[in-house]
Structure formats: structure tokens, C-alpha cells
């Protein structure tokens, strides 16, 4: 692999990691929103 390919991979990996974090946060948030709304919020 050329250094350019390495850089592309590195950026894709870090973007995928951020996306995974954001999705996990979203799942958690939806869970807590559901609890809050069910408890008469």
C-alpha cells in the first residue's frame, strides 16, 4: 500500500470510530428519552 492509501485508511477508520461513538450515544439517549416519557414526562 502506498502512503496515500494508508492515509485514506486512517481517515476512514477514525470516521468510522466517531460514527460508532455517535450511534452508541444515540441509542443510550433514546433509551433514556423512552424511560423519561413513559414516567409521565
Amino acid at each position: 500500500m502506498s502512503p496515500r492509501d494508508d492515509e485514506v485508511r486512517r481517515r476512514q477508520r477514525s470516521r468510522a470510530a466517531m460514527m460508532a461513538l455517535a450511534l452508541a450515544a444515540f441509542v443510550l439517549l433514546m433509551y433514556f428519552i423512552t424511560i423519561a416519557r413513559m414516567s409521565g414526562g
Binding site: 485514506v8 481517515r11 476512514q12 477514525s14 424511560i35 414516567s39
Partner: protein, 304 residues
């Protein structure tokens, strides 16, 4: 030159995630988040902390989405200004279409999440504020009229209204006064800035008031706008919507603001070196808005 740019555009690297964060103008967001949070906190009835957090998050994401769409549309303009030339699009670190997709996606996400978590009235105002900033301000008026800042101020004035609506499901006089306060605060705030960075806007061809009408007319309008702004800031007290703690703080802070605006009005300097009053007013204006909104929350919570 053209060969180099052609090669750079042939197989662009994927943008870094940090560049997507930069698209949302995170530094502008602090004021949006703070005023939105204050609108939520002074609303009667209270809101579940998780739902309140989500509402403020949605306001922040909506503002970020609007900022991204603004940068998507203004990439050519940003490239011509020193202050903005290093943003992801003009610097060539991101494809233009990525910014568009990100902005549209984030807009829908923030509005739908707001509707699901709180209510659809708040979600509607959030949608209107995004559309207003992108279509009315960025696309329609910014490059056409020196009143662009006045219109842009309306877009920035929505957060307390949205925060209030998220908590109550409606809008009443107090959040409308808070809207008016930010709306009338924005022109003096930005015109003070545009007086001492005038050359930059002139280079990009944006019809900023100092460029079109000259510094004297701009300074007169800064003072002119500060008077109704002060009235809107103090009004909740005599109207019985806030207590004496807020009234005293708002009156004192507004007095300082108007006095500083009067100093700007009296200044005749055309060079940035002689624009001490403008720089002072600009710096104070940010503190002013934080302090007035902070005082409103303190007043509400001290009385409760």
C-alpha cells in the same frame, strides 16, 4: 496552477471527522446553547432533565446543521476572506457535496429528535429557524442588502423561543421578548465588529453596512438599535414577567451597553487602530447577553 488543482480534485482524500465538526461553527454555538437553555429554564412547569438535555442538544445540532449549510453555500465567499479561508470547504479539505449531505442530514435528525423527545411545536420552530437562516439569510439577503445582519439576527434569536416551547408546548410574551432582545442586540454586536474588520468584508464583496453606508451611518445605527434593545431587555420586569433581581441587573447592564454605544457614536476614527470604543462594545456585547439571560434564570430560581 490549474494542473495542481486538477490533480487535487481527481481523487480527494476523505475528509477528517474534525472537519465535519468545524462545519458546525462550534464557537458560535455556545451562545445559542446558552440562550436556548435559559429559555428552557425560565419556562413554567419544568421539564424532565433528560428531555431538557435532549432539547438543548437538538437546538445545538440544528444550529450546527444551519452553519454547515451556510458554509456549503458560501464556500466561494469564504475563500475570499482571510478569517474564513481556512474553513474545510475553501481550504479544499472536504468535497462540497459532503457538506451538503451532512447539513441536510443533521437538520432532519435534529428536528425529528426534538419532535420525538419534546413536542412538534418546538420541532416546527427549530425547522423554521434552520430554514430561515439558510434560505432567507444566507441565500436570499446576505449578498443583496446591507440590512443582512438585521435579518440574520432574527435567525439567531430563535433558541430561547425553542427552549421555552420544548418545556411548555407553547409560546408566550416572555420568550417573545427574549427573541426581540437577541434580534435587536445582533446588529450593534455585528456592526461594531464589522467596523474594525471592514477591509475583509469589502474584499469578499459582502454589502456590510460600513462598506455601503460608511462608518458614521453605521455608528448612528448602533446607537439607534441599542435603545429598543435596552427596552426589550428591561421590559419583563415592569410587565411582571420577572422580578426585581432581573430588573435591576437588566437595567444596569443595558445602561452600560447604551453608554458604550454612545461612545461608539461619538468616535470619528476611520482606522482600526482608533476603534477602541468599537472593540470594547463588541467584547462587552457578548458578556451582556450572557449576563442578562443568566440574571433571568437566577431571578426565576431565587423567587421559586
Amino acid at each position: 496552477m490549474s494542473a495542481v488543482t486538477a490533480a487535487a480534485h481527481e481523487t480527494p482524500l476523505p475528509a477528517e471527522w474534525r472537519d465535519f465538526v468545524a462545519l458546525t461553527k462550534p464557537r458560535v454555538m455556545s451562545l445559542v446553547v446558552f440562550t436556548g437553555l435559559c429559555g428552557l429554564l425560565v419556562a413554567p412547569g419544568g421539564i424532565h432533565p433528560v428531555l431538557g438535555f435532549t432539547a438543548v442538544l437538538c437546538i445545538a445540532l440544528g444550529a450546527g446543521a444551519a452553519a454547515a449549510l451556510n458554509m456549503w453555500y458560501e464556500a466561494d465567499l469564504d475563500a475570499r476572506m482571510k478569517r474564513t479561508a481556512d474553513r474545510p470547504l475553501p481550504a479544499g479539505r472536504m468535497a462540497r457535496q459532503s457538506a451538503l449531505h451532512f447539513g441536510v442530514g443533521l437538520s432532519f435528525f435534529s428536528v425529528i429528535l426534538m419532535g420525538v423527545a419534546t413536542n412538534w411545536f418546538a420541532a416546527s420552530i427549530l425547522a423554521v429557524s434552520i430554514l430561515f437562516y439558510v434560505l432567507v439569510y444566507t441565500v436570499w439577503l446576505k449578498r443583496r442588502t446591507p440590512q443582512n445582519i438585521v435579518v440574520g439576527g432574527a435567525a439567531g434569536a430563535f433558541p430561547p423561543l425553542i427552549g421555552w416551547a420544548a418545556a411548555t408546548g407553547d409560546a408566550s410574551l416572555l420568550p417573545v421578548l427574549l427573541f426581540l432582545l437577541i434580534f435587536l442586540w445582533t446588529p450593534p454586536h455585528f456592526w461594531a465588529l464589522s467596523l474594525f474588520v471592514r477591509s475583509d468584508y469589502a474584499a469578499a464583496g459582502v454589502p456590510m453596512l460600513p462598506v455601503v453606508a460608511g462608518p458614521a451611518a453605521t455608528r448612528r445605527r448602533i446607537l439607534l438599535y441599542s435603545l429598543p434593545m435596552a427596552a426589550a431587555a428591561v421590559a419583563p420586569w415592569p410587565l411582571g414577567l420577572a422580578g426585581a433581581v432581573y430588573g435591576a441587573a437588566a437595567a444596569a447592564l443595558s445602561l452600560v451597553f447604551v453608554a458604550m454605544a454612545a461612545q461608539v457614536h461619538a468616535n470619528g476614527s476611520a482606522e482600526p487602530a482608533g476603534m477602541g470604543p468599537e472593540k470594547r462594545l463588541f467584547a462587552f456585547s457578548v458578556l451582556y447577553l450572557f449576563a442578562v439571560f443568566g440574571a433571568l434564570v437566577a431571578d426565576r430560581w431565587l423567587l421559586a
